[in-house]
């Protein structure tokens, strides 16, 4: 029998890389001004910092503008088919726990056609990092509403407004047992990098929703909260162990209210009444409540890590079973297998 060794990656220490190492020679083909550029830059700048090997890194995507991502990262990559990236990445990550597997896709790709694979990957806690670029629109097919588009949205396929309530991706993920859930946005590179790093470091499935501007078909969708001049009053930073507080002068905060949470003025309630953020609560209820704070992106919206708990990832359990059988049965013996049912000899 042949002995086919899986590659081990380059030898020795991880060689330092620069941003340029992570860039491919392919022309980036997003529209000028698209939010996807800044997300790409954030990742290409982060990678050297993470100290990972390019050959050990894989980007898997579906179809959509966002899903072009792998072509621009000088790693291994697969631009697959619409909606299926989480499933393909699941197989890859389970087969090859030595790899860092990232999944990139749009709101249509991952929440519409790919919704089921997404929630199952989260439930199983597959060791992949999922980045959902949410522009609340179908970009690549030129502007139909998506499952995150607001009700009433006028698009090519909803000329007098869409009739559907959107998903809140963070709520969906938490409802699906996700162990790591975070939100960030394309206008804050530093924040993106912090969140991507956390996603990378998390064992198991990490889910990151990135608010991303599609300047062609849904321009300004997140302006009301992410623009520099309103950001301080509209984005609520989630800081582990800290009271949740925001506003240009820290004048606002988040406090529990009737089982959920609400925005309060610190002056009214006092600092001690604020909710102290704990992403690691085993019970996801508070994280879920935080996700309900903004049911539309024109209300103050928590940004950061909603939830991060270590609950054992699927691949480790799966490989432990392989080892367990190997241990209990000894070396794989094909001949013994073929003779394992009653045999007779002529």
């Amino acid at each position: 029998m042949t002995d086919t060794l899986l590659p081990e990656g380059g030898p020795g220490d991880v060689p330092p890389t620069t941003r340029a190492d992570w860039q491919t020679d392919q022309e980036v083909r997003w529209c000028p001004g698209c939010g996807d550029y800044s997300i790409l830059t954030a990742l290409q700048l982060l990678m050297p910092d993470l100290g990972v090997r390019r050959e050990k890194t894989v980007f898997v995507s579906g179809i959509g503008c966002a899903a072009r991502f792998p072509y621009y990262m000088d790693t291994y990559g697969m631009h697959s088919i619409h909606g299926r990236a989480p499933a393909i990445a699941t197989g890859l990550a389970l087969a090859r726990p030595d790899l860092d597997v990232w999944v990139v896709g749009g709101d249509g790709d991952m929440l519409s056609i790919g919704g089921n694979h997404l929630i199952h990957a989260l439930r199983r806690n597959i060791d992949i990092n999922i980045l959902l670029f949410n522009n609340q629109i179908y970009g690549l097919t030129k502007g139909q509403f998506s499952p995150t588009s607001e009700k009433g949205k006028v698009t090519k396929s909803s000329p007098i407004g869409s009739c559907a309530t959107p998903f809140n991706p963070v709520s969906v993920a938490i409802g699906a047992e996700a162990s790591f859930v975070a939100r960030t946005h394309d206008l804050d590179r530093r924040h993106m990098q912090e969140i991507f790093r956390r996603a990378y470091e998390h064992p198991g499935a990490s889910f990151v929703e990135v608010y991303q501007n599609c300047n062609v078909f849904n321009d300004g969708a997140f302006e009301t909260i992410t623009k520099k001049d309103v950001r301080d009053d509209m984005l609520i930073p989630l800081v582990q162990g800290e009271p949740i507080r925001f506003g240009s002068d820290g004048q606002f905060g988040v406090a529990r209210h009737d089982g959920g949470v609400r925005v309060v003025e610190v002056a009214d309630v006092g600092v001690d009444a604020l909710l102290v953020h704990d992403e690691a609560r085993p019970d996801p209820s508070t994280s879920f409540a935080l996700s309900r704070l903004a049911d539309r992106p024109d209300r103050p919206t928590p940004m950061g890590v909603y939830r991060a708990v270590d609950r054992g990832e699927y691949g480790a359990a799966m490989h432990a079973q392989v080892d367990q059988m190997a241990d209990s049965r000894g070396k794989a013996d094909l001949k013994a297998l073929l003779h394992s049912l009653p045999t007779w000899t002529v």
Partner: protein, 622 residues
């Protein structure tokens, strides 16, 4: 003792077809299976046909609830579960009613007389007791009060009456073992091993089995007794195997032969689930089984694993293949190895999930958008599923392509003696991942081109983790060689042609003509019809008529000599368990007037049926 008796007194017959039938709860599959095992150990050639209802537990006593197991044992090599049973064991009126029609005229009917009470008769739709009327005049009826005799045998064991009753299948098995001179020991040993630790059950089953055996001896049944001598079979070690187990083992073997870990992504579906079950029990062979959320994720995960350098496999049945079509198309475009196993069943739609059919061939060929060719191969017998699983993996790995392996519900569940191969004789499957640059760029630097092809038109398999070979692949058309996305029309035309040619060029063994090469009539088959066709051709030739047979394992590409072979015959018949699918491919490809012989009743062809058609064709109604 029995064996001595058999050898001295009992008349011999060359072969015997026995059908066990009863309620789903009556344990007929088990009884049939045990009878089969004992016969295998005894040395018969054999072939089985289990049939069960689609319901988990169909209502007791009804026609819908009847579960049957047919076994053909023989003193010479055989190929099918038989034309029609010689013996029918009917555990209740429903079983009698549902199955009597299958029996040969003059055949033996062994009934559990205790079950023929009014309630059961009514449930079976009888308005009278068939044991009393003239219903069975054409048969040899053996009435045995199996339930009461079983209870009687167990009465001192401390078993609850209900539990004792449950052992009546072992009573039937004991009786049949006596009548047909099967060895006792294997069954006794099996009972002891199977129910280890549950002593009461062991005791009851053994008591019932012995009681059945004794009943045969003591009741006046010796005129029913016959023996089927062991068959002369090639020397070697045998095991009795069904298609799904053989297929699962073939996948394990392919992993070992290639040195690749096996990754099975699968979603349960009848009749394919048992492959998932079997593989999940052999993780020590570096076999990972992943039960996905659906068939799309199943094939997707297998493709992901294949990208990662594993032997990616997905197993399913027709509805699952339909769902996988888009992802298989991606695999065609990515040119990655992938094995897709389709255990075909009755369709369309949910159809007849527990019955066999082979109507997915054209879907295998054409069931994807765009020009997306892939190799298609089909197994012909249960044991052949082992070989073809390895062959599918070999083609997939060697030619970097998804391969469709076709089996069907009949092969999946029926069994035959399998001469076990020597493991060391199995051909290794070379892999050879790419490990370095394969091209220089304008500046003279080494670069890696993922779509640079070798002489077989195969692209390199460069798996993540390999330093320097980072590259991106995807379902958009790519430039041949560099693998960069390309919208260029000429490149696309080239790639479409390359994808077609690289599959068309895969060398496959020539088609072999069995039977009379100088006959006028050729029977062309594929898949599980092999047994029935082989048996038929032998019969017809034994009858002094000429007929030839070509059986195709390779459906795409077809054997290079096939056109020539076909041109030698004036009549070409193509029996298929569909309305005529291979026949379309042959007509299209070779412009020969091949004609379909169709059967879509959920059961395999019998030799008798084929004989009738072929003799009719040969101008002989005999």
């Amino acid at each position: 003792m029995t064996e001595t008796a058999a050898e001295s007194l009992v008349p011999e017959v060359g072969g015997l077809v026995i059908r066990f039938a009863g309620d789903s709860g009556d344990g007929m599959q088990l009884a049939g299976d045990r009878f089969t095992s004992a016969s295998a150990l005894f040395g018969n050639d054999l072939s089985t046909l289990p049939e069960f209802p689609a319901e988990i537990r169909a209502p007791a006593g009804t026609l819908a609830g009847v579960s049957a197991f047919q076994v053909h044992i023989s003193d010479h090599d055989i190929f099918t579960p038989g034309d029609a049973p010689h013996v029918l064991v009917a555990m209740n009126p429903a079983a009698l009613r549902a199955e009597l029609g299958t029996l040969i005229d003059g055949g033996t009917v062994i009934v559990n007389a205790d079950a023929f009470v009014e309630r059961n008769l009514a449930k079976a739709g009888y308005d009278h007791d068939p044991l009393e009327g003239d219903d069975l005049d054409a048969y040899r009826l053996v009435r045995v009060p199996m339930t009461s005799l079983t209870k009687e045998a167990c009465k001192d064991l401390g078993v609850k009456t209900r539990d004792a009753e449950r052992s009546k299948n072992f009573f039937a098995l004991g009786l049949l073992s006596w009548m047909y001179s099967r060895p006792i020991e294997p069954t006794i040993e099996w009972i002891e091993a199977k129910f280890k630790g549950r002593d009461l059950i062991i005791a009851a089953n053994k008591a019932a089995f012995n009681a059945g055996h004794a009943f045969g001896e003591t009741a006046e049944l010796s005129d029913h007794q016959v023996v089927v001598r062991p068959a002369e079979m090639p020397a070697g070690t045998y095991t009795n195997i069904n298609g799904n187990t053989a297929l699962a083992w073939g996948l394990v073997a392919a992993g070992q032969l290639s040195g690749l870990p096996v990754f099975l992504g699968s979603y349960p579906i009848t009749p394919a689930s048992d492959i998932l079950h079997e593989l999940s029990r052999h993780k020590e062979f570096d076999v990972a089984t992943f039960q996905a959320e659906d068939e799309i994720a199943a094939v997707g995960s297998a493709l992901g694993a294949a990208y990662g350098g594993h032997l990616g496999v997905t197993t399913t049945s027709g509805p699952g293949v339909a769902l996988k079509a888009e992802t298989i198309g991606l695999a065609v475009s990515l040119e990655l190895p992938l094995v897709i196993v389709n255990i075909q069943r009755g369709g369309p739609s949910t159809g007849l999930p527990t019955k066999t059919e082979a109507a997915d061939l054209l879907m295998a060929m054409y069931g994807r958008h765009g020009e997306s060719p892939l190799p298609v191969i089909a197994a012909r017998t249960p044991a052949d599923c082992f070989d073809q699983a390895i062959e599918a993996a070999r083609i997939a790995i060697e030619y970097r392509t998804p391969v469709m392996l076709l089996s069907d519900g009949y092969l999946a569940n029926s069994s035959e003696p399998w001469l076990l191969p020597e493991v060391d004789d199995l051909e290794p499957i070379p892999v050879g991942f790419a490990s370095g640059f394969n091209q220089v760029d304008e500046d003279g630097n080494g670069v890696f081109w993922p779509y640079l092809r070798d002489e077989k038109m195969v692209r390199p398999w460069a798996i993540p983790g390999t330093p320097d070979l980072m590259h991106r692949i995807g379902g958009l058309e790519k430039e041949d060689g560099s693998g960069n996305v390309s919208y260029d029309g000429a490149n696309h035309a080239h790639m479409v042609a390359v994808r077609a040619e690289r599959i068309a060029r895969i060398p496959v063994p020539d088609a072999e003509v069995c039977g009379d090469a100088d006959a006028d009539l050729l029977v062309v088959g594929w898949g599980s019809t092999w047994g029935a066709i082989t048996a038929t051709v032998r019969r017809i030739r034994n009858g002094g008529r000429k007929v030839a047979h070509v059986h195709l394992t390779y459906l795409n590409p077809l054997p290079a000599n096939l056109g020539e072979v076909l041109s030698d015959f004036s009549t070409i018949l193509v029996p298929e368990m569909n309305l005529g699918q291979l026949v379309r491919m042959l007509r299209d490809e070779y412009l020969v007037d091949a004609r379909p012989v169709s059967k879509v009743t959920g059961q395999p062809f019998t030799p008798a049926e084929l004989q009738h058609v072929i003799l009719g064709e040969l101008g002989d109604d005999a």
